[in-house]
């Protein structure tokens, strides 16, 4: 039992827990949509004074910000107490080889040091990759009206066609980046 918790969780168990997160929020009278927080944070920062899109009653989204704080704490609890130290992600051999061809070493933890170490952050290229990645996600999520939680999970569970279109878009973008742009930048 303890070992089950400490090891990476299998996909079926993870999927079940994620759907319970969605159901718990529904029974609390809320809907699961994480990227709404990005808009809320802009409003709290005063963006509503200049841009109409951010002029809304963000206090109704306080619950979602609390959820965000919980998500940070959940990440902390996992790394401190619920996992074995420096456990490498067991990705497929094919992925390891493809990434090695791009200059990434085989995984030794859950994130590649080539992108997310503090040393990389203070290189121009490293910083630009993180900045652009975040910028595209934040822009695209709001343009598409939701991210993975709102569209791929909640929206498709409700069989909404717009969410299915958005997820098709997520994959078109992901494939362009992976197969078209990665060979140019790595």
């Amino acid at each position: 039992m303890l070992d089950f918790i400490m090891q990476p969780w299998p996909w079926w168990f993870s999927g079940l827990i994620i759907s319970s997160v969605m159901f718990l929020l529904l029974f609390f009278g809320k809907s699961f949509g994480f990227s709404a927080n990005l808009r809320t944070i802009c409003s709290i920062g005063g963006a509503g004074k200049k841009v109409k899109f951010f002029d809304f009653d963000w206090k109704k989204q306080t619950w979602n910000l609390v959820f965000l704080v919980g998500a940070i704490i959940g990440g902390f609890i996992t790394s401190e107490f619920l996992s074995y130290p420096d456990q490498a992600v067991a990705i497929s051999e094919n992925t390891i080889q493809d990434l090695e061809a791009l200059g990434f070493a085989a995984p030794s933890s859950i994130q590649p040091a080539e992108l997310f170490s503090i040393e990389t952050l203070f290189t121009l290229k490293g910083f630009l990759i993180l900045a652009f990645g975040g910028l595209l996600v934040g822009f695209g999520a709001r343009y598409a009206g939701g991210c993975t939680s709102g569209h791929a999970i909640s929206g498709i569970a409700d069989l909404q066609v717009p969410s299915m279109i958005a997820v098709v878009g997520f994959f078109i973008g992901g494939l362009i980046m992976t197969f078209g742009i990665f060979p140019l930048i790595f």
Partner: protein
């Protein structure tokens, strides 16, 4: 105190995102290269169980803890915004290996670089708000 339940569900979300390795850049690369079932299994189970649950909620008109009906609002019909927005999102998802939830979970996990990714995602949302009217929706 009324917010404590959201904190607890958020903690559960942060734990499952990291324990499932869905916060890992490697896993997102593996997904976009179609080289493992892992991420598809996670999303597939979440969506299938989610769809059954949503159908049950609708069929039996279930109510939330405050006694209000649980309602689902159809999203506005359009193709451009979902497809274009989705593509832009996907580009960023593959590059940074994280969608907004996993960004903050990664910060909690100890990967401080995701603080930069998250700050720029806020800036990206701000940019969208500024040029929203000029984009096809």
């Amino acid at each position: 105190m009324k917010f404590i339940k959201y904190l607890i569900v958020g903690i559960l979300f942060g734990i499952v995102m990291s324990k499932s390795e869905a916060i890992s850049w490697y896993r997102i690369q593996e997904m976009f290269r179609f080289q493992a079932f892992h991420m598809y299994g996670i999303i597939g189970v979440a969506v299938t169980v989610g769809a059954i649950g949503v159908a049950i909620i609708k069929k039996f008109k279930l109510r939330d803890v405050e006694g209000n009906p649980i309602l689902f609002f159809p999203k506005n019909k359009s193709v451009a915004r979902y497809l274009l927005g989705g593509i832009i999102f996907g580009l960023g998802w593959a590059l940074s290996g994280a969608c907004p939830g996993p960004m903050v979970v990664n910060i909690g996990y100890g990967f401080m670089s995701f603080g930069v990714v998250f700050l720029f995602s806020i800036f990206g949302t701000f940019l969208y708000g500024v040029i929203k009217e000029k984009l096809p929706h």
